[in-house]
Symmetry: C2
Subunit: 516 residues, 2 copies
């Protein structure tokens, strides 16, 4: 057995059985070792930001890490922006980065770089393997670190000789470092706050937004009347009919301020105080009312689910909340295709239990409103603001949940960033329906150009070209077909309904370009 | 005038008049300021690794920096791997990265990241602007740093408020920090070495491989019989008929060892001792003969051109070398299309003075051999081993030299990494002919799998799928058309000759997919 084989076997022993990768020469022994572990699935991606974004989508849905396989520092570099997004999503990822053999580094060959330097800003844990005999132990610790509450990126740097030299054996899984318990005193304090008659809201994040956590939050809502809120970009939330209703905080700073104005006390459950996404001249960054009292029920590393359950019990809340989102499907639209009619079609035709890997930017507003009362589904948004996450996220989510339909509504600007993900959808025959909103624009930036005041100080035609995606207009049907994905183009609501309806009835990847 | 306007004007004052960018909200004032400086050309790219690779191609041909405009840490992250390549090419780049307003950073909004951390591994110089009044001075220093010998990436981090707050004025250009002179003693020492009767070779890099530097090296060659060598991936070399002949060091370690075996003394001119690209079990990393004496005529920051000229004078070399590459065009091929017949067509039909932005990997060998005796041209290869540089490099080179034909021979694996560059070729109507060698494979890795010994230890079908780009096969004509580039597909030598010949006669972007 060599180091790479001990590593791959250890991953499997630790429950990590999917590896997204784009390997190179320094990772050849890892690649060869894939065949020694039949349980390990290897998924090739054409660009590393697809690798890391897919690992994020997988981790958010599977609730456990996938591994990546990246080619030295530059391979890692290509995947960093989706690791940034994954860090914000608190997704567990075992991030394996090949490197030159330990003795080769002294020569500063062309691919040599400061891998630890690249990895540090996105990693919760970093380790450089030094010896093939200890690589198995290193990876067991990496998995443990990735899984530690609330979840994070554990980066393991694997010099080629630690992969090709001999190893004795694989390692077994280490115990999980679970979340810290929230004390009874804290539960008691929050219970008293919720009984003081002030207008309260709980801002939920992480496990508080799905499954048991969301159910427990619903009990608190039912008993106390407290509002349940989530961040604009909550990483993983269960929405739609039959679910506990949660209000999403809006995107723009002044909207957040209005939205939070009535809140007298804000209770954070795995979340942080709401701030504006960007700074704007003369607009606030801090968005809670000055008089609003902010309290923590659970920090991100703490057990939000247990805390909410104990809080609901302490309050004497009902065993299950009667407050549920009603099903309210919109009418089927006819005629013009626009972001409203697209949303209506999607809400009408998407089956239960779909996963939305969504990065539709300015086009998402009617979709989110409509789907909030649509069939129950899981929503995975862009979490760190770095566009180009949606398509890779869909790849990973579809691999984590092959029995669920994955819908990927994408703005054209974001889709262009990681269009290479389409190829992996085709190769793995993933059940992903991608909807590209083709408005040939970084539409959000046209809004922001106004909001930042930049227009007022002289933005002219040259500035406008930097926000515009005409000249040439991308044709997504061509791009998709070029990467093996069946594609069509809709220009009316009826055409879109036909194409989307057909996609819902078939399995496998499909792209629909909607011209809006 | 605001900080952004003072910055853009200062760039122009310092001779930086092209900006490749993919901006976001935090860069809106920079974008608006573009209209205040008519001299500044702004080029939008769909992904940041196109931005940085284009800046590299521009810098290598123009001999002066372009600016980039990147959206906070994640935008920088997306461009890091081509900045790694640019660092290895020693290309001057003024790398401008927007950031949140200084006062907004405390809130750790989702796009906040450790920008300095991301930038450090690729940057020769980093500075965080703190004040709109001093941004102009900061950028003047950034340009000076980027231009300092041998050239490098100067990263300037620009918080949004330093762009939107008032500034007094633009700054003027600072004096260039030229290369250090090589002492007369060193020239004398090397002249003596070259007269000692040992078998000598000069390993040239940087300015020693084009223009005056190459001519001076030719004089030394003519006088002493010393071989002139260049690295496998010398960043910028002038080749072809009429030029001083230079031998390229081969790629694989054992080939390098054979190639260098006769060399008794190796004289480095802006270069480092040759080492293998990767480490392999049981193969050497250090590739010069053990007995070979290594001497430095010029380090990378030193004046290689002056040193070679002084050396030639000291040796009493002729004013111009009579040793020149003869023109030797291959026959026009017929029948099967393969990497040899593709090379023959390209050599036959490419006009003088073309620029080759080349990343054809395993497909490049016959092309390089054939073009070595083809019409005079400039060769820009992949410099740091991070694939996905060629297409962006072609964008930048075409903007730097609009009167020259740019040829971009690409392997499909590398082309897939930054396919988004095609869109910028279409938008800017760049005179780039891209040739995609579609072998549906990371072909180099199939070779490396053997060479690393990974096959022997059990690589099987799963390993092979990680190196294979079939299933689905990419159709590059579709991908190119999807991004607005005219495209065709050749399956015989005649078809390729027709299509390539037509491309040589037209202006504007064109992609030819050769199926090999």
């Amino acid at each position: 057995m060599n180091g790479a084989q001990s590593l791959v076997k250890t991953l499997v022993n630790c429950g990590v059985d999917v590896c997204f990768g784009n390997p190179g020469t320094s990772e050849m022994h890892f690649v060869a070792a894939l065949d020694s572990a039949p349980e390990m699935r290897a998924v090739l991606c054409l660009q590393e930001n697809v690798v890391t974004g897919a690992a994020d989508g997988y981790g958010r849905i599977a609730g456990k890490p996938a591994a990546t396989l990246l080619h030295l520092g530059p391979g890692l570099a290509n995947g960093l922006s989706n690791l940034h997004n994954a860090r914000r999503a608190q997704t567990p990822i075992v991030n394996v980065i090949g490197d030159h053999a330990t003795y080769h580094l002294q020569y500063d060959a062309l691919l040599t770089s400061d891998i630890v330097g690249f990895a540090r800003p996105v990693s919760a844990w970093i380790h450089e393997a030094k010896n093939s005999q200890t690589v198995a132990a290193d990876v067991a610790r990496a998995v443990q670190a990735a899984r530690s509450a609330p979840g994070g990126v554990a980066s393991l740097i694997l010099p080629a000789d630690t992969a090709w030299n001999p190893a004795e054996r694989a390692a077994s899984m280490l115990p999980d470092i679970g979340p810290a318990m929230v004390s009874a005193d804290t539960i008691d304090d929050i219970a008293k706050l919720l009984a003081n008659g002030k207008k309260s809201a709980l801002l939920l994040r992480g496990r508080a937004l799905h499954g048991e956590g969301l159910e427990a939050a619903g009990r608190v809502q039912a008993k106390t009347g407290a509002r349940l809120l989530c961040d604009t970009f909550a990483p993983h939330i269960e929405l739609g009919a039959g679910r506990v209703p949660v209000e999403r905080i809006p995107y723009f700073a002044e909207q957040i301020v209005d939205f939070l104005k009535p809140v007298e006390q804000l209770i954070l459950v795995g979340s942080k105080p709401p701030v504006s996404f960007f700074a704007y001249p003369g607009k606030p960054s801090w968005c809670s009312p000055e008089t609003c009292q902010i309290n923590y029920l659970a920090h991100p590393h703490e057990d939000a689910v247990g805390a909410l359950t104990n809080l609901a019990d302490a309050l004497g809340a009902p065993a299950s909340s009667p407050i549920r989102v009603p099903l309210d499907l919109p009418p089927m639209p006819a005629g013009a295709l626009n972001i409203v009619s697209v949303a209506q079609v999607i809400a009408q035709l998407t089956p239960e239990n779909a996963i939305f890997a969504e990065e539709a930017a300015t086009s998402c507003f009617p979709l989110l409103l409509t789907m909030a009362k649509g069939r129950p589904h899981t929503h995975l948004p862009l979490t760190g603001g770095s566009i180009g996450q949606g398509l890779p996220l869909a790849v990973g989510a579809a691999i984590a949940a092959p029995e669920r339909k994955v819908i990927c509504p994408m703005g054209d600007g974001g889709a262009a960033m990681t269009m290479q993900a389409l190829w992996s959808m085709a190769r793995e025959n993933l059940d992903v329906t991608t909807v590209i909103y083709n408005n040939s624009s970084y539409a959000i930036l046209n809004i922001e150009l106004q909001r930042t005041g930049a227009t007022a100080i002289g933005a002219g035609p040259k500035a406008m070209t930097m926000l515009d995606l005409h000249n040439p207009t991308m044709t997504w049907t061509n791009i998709a077909r070029g990467m093996g994905v069946e594609a069509s183009r809709a220009t009316t609501a009826e055409e879109f309904a036909d194409q989307y309806g057909a996609a819902m009835k078939q399995r496998g990847p499909r792209l629909i370009e909607v011209v809006i």
